[in-house]
Amino acid sequence: MRFAGKVAWITGVARGIGFATASALAREGADLAINDIRPLDEAAAKLKGMGRSVLAMQADVTIARQVEEMAEKIFKGFGHIDILVNNAGGGLNVPFSIVEMQEEDWDKVVDLNLKGSFLCCKAAIPYMRKQGKGSIVNIASLAGRSSATTVGPAYTGAKAGLLGLTRHLAKTEGPYGIRVNAVCPGSIMTELLAERFKSYPKEEQEKRLAGTPLGRFGRPEEVAAAVLFLASDEASFITGANIDVNGGRFMQM
């Protein structure tokens, strides 16, 4: 068990990649501090069922005070914060075209995908500095590495910004023993997407998979595996790096 005795703070855990990451960390022995803006009862019950301590915190990661309170609660409850996974994010169904995108659309997408991670890093890092050790993994996106076909410019911009934040913090926090890395998932088949995809005609399905050399969508567990690798001591000389989990859809130097 790679994470026995470790405390991991994961945001956006109610479903999808966040839940898969929390489950994988629990399986590997970590105690969990989980967050979502949605109710967490179901996720928390499942994770507790895996025999770990679970602190569930419904909170909005874009509001500084709520984030600070989470960090305080985690430290009070567990005494340390070893891992932070900034997973909360999303496209929020705002318009794709910049012409139709309103200022408030831009702000809410950038707040969720970029500011939320900034605030959680800001809240966790003082504890990690004191420990002289910590590992942060930011869930960015293929959109941040390249561009996206279904989400608008705010999402692409915010995720690219998150990669910049990752590199900046890797540099400034390295001397404190804190590693900061990112994972960029491509098209990941969450339960919600799977249902929708099945309803597409075969031709449409094929069109959506063209351009992915592995010829399929990814699974949340496959993103979680990369997050765990980066969060673990196996990655002890890796910081400021990014792992693309996209089936070969985008490859860059």
Partner: protein, 230 residues
């Protein structure tokens, strides 16, 4: 496990260590830049194990075939140094991948991991253009093979290590070619403030070879303590 090196004396210890851990291991001395010797090696793999799941293309270096250092400045690089290093880093990867694919294809499964270098991502004063060029080319080959081989179930990825204290030779190089002041300045450029260990590269290779990396192909993992970020 099949253990290869051009230097026969380096193989036996590794083979024994693997055998002591209860795994089957065979050593084979061969020059990975020579097509005939590579063919012989893969024929042996086929005969001994009947299949191949994983290939790690680790052969390489700035001197080529362990022949010592080559020149650093392009004006002083003889054509033969250029050829030697390109062969060691790039041609070996091409030849071994080509042969490995023949064994992986029937199974519809395979993992190839190429050891590139941070030198592929930026220039340095300590290695010549032949080293930077060939390690960059390894990344190009990685991406192309990833695209071509994905439909066959074969994943191809790379790692790009920074300065790793990988051998007594690397330690000597670190200590003897730099003054104390230069060493401190070098470490200042690494946010983690230290050089890497070979195990830290191995961990990333093992991750990419595993089924945990089942949706990852065509990527490069940087293992450099933050000294270069892309």
């Amino acid at each position: 496990m099949v253990v290869n090196d051009i230097n026969a004396s380096l193989i036996e210890d590794t083979v024994q260590e693997i055998q002591r851990s209860g795994k089957r291991a065979r050593g084979i001395q061969a020059d990975a830049t020579n097509e005939e010797e590579v063919s012989r090696m893969f024929a042996m793999i086929k005969e001994t194990f009947g299949k191949l799941d994983i290939l790690v293309n680790n052969v390489g270096g700035s001197g080529g075939g362990g022949a010592g250092d080559t020149s650093v400045k392009i004006g002083e690089v003889p054509e033969e140094d250029w050829d030697k290093v390109i062969r060691a880093n790039l041609k070996s990867t091409f030849l071994c991948s080509k042969k490995a694919i023949e064994l992986m294809k029937p199974a519809g499964y395979g993992k190839i991991v190429n050891i590139s270098s941070r030198a592929a991502r930026l220039g340095t004063d300590h290695q010549g253009p032949q080293y930077h060029t060939s390690k960059s080319a390894v990344l190009g080959l990685t991406r192309q093979l990833a695209r071509d081989l994905a439909p066959l179930g074969i994943h191809v990825n790379a790692v790009a290590p920074g300065f790793i204290l990988s051998s007594p030779r690397a330690e000597r190089r670190w200590k003897e070619t730099r003054t104390e002041e230069e060493r401190q300045a070098y470490l200042k450029g690494i946010p983690m403030g230290r050089l890497g260990k070979p195990e830290e590269v191995a961990n990333a290779v093992a991750f990419l070879c595993s089924d945990e990396a089942s949706y990852i192909t065509g990527v490069t993992i940087d293992i450099n303590g933050g000294s270069f970020m892309i």
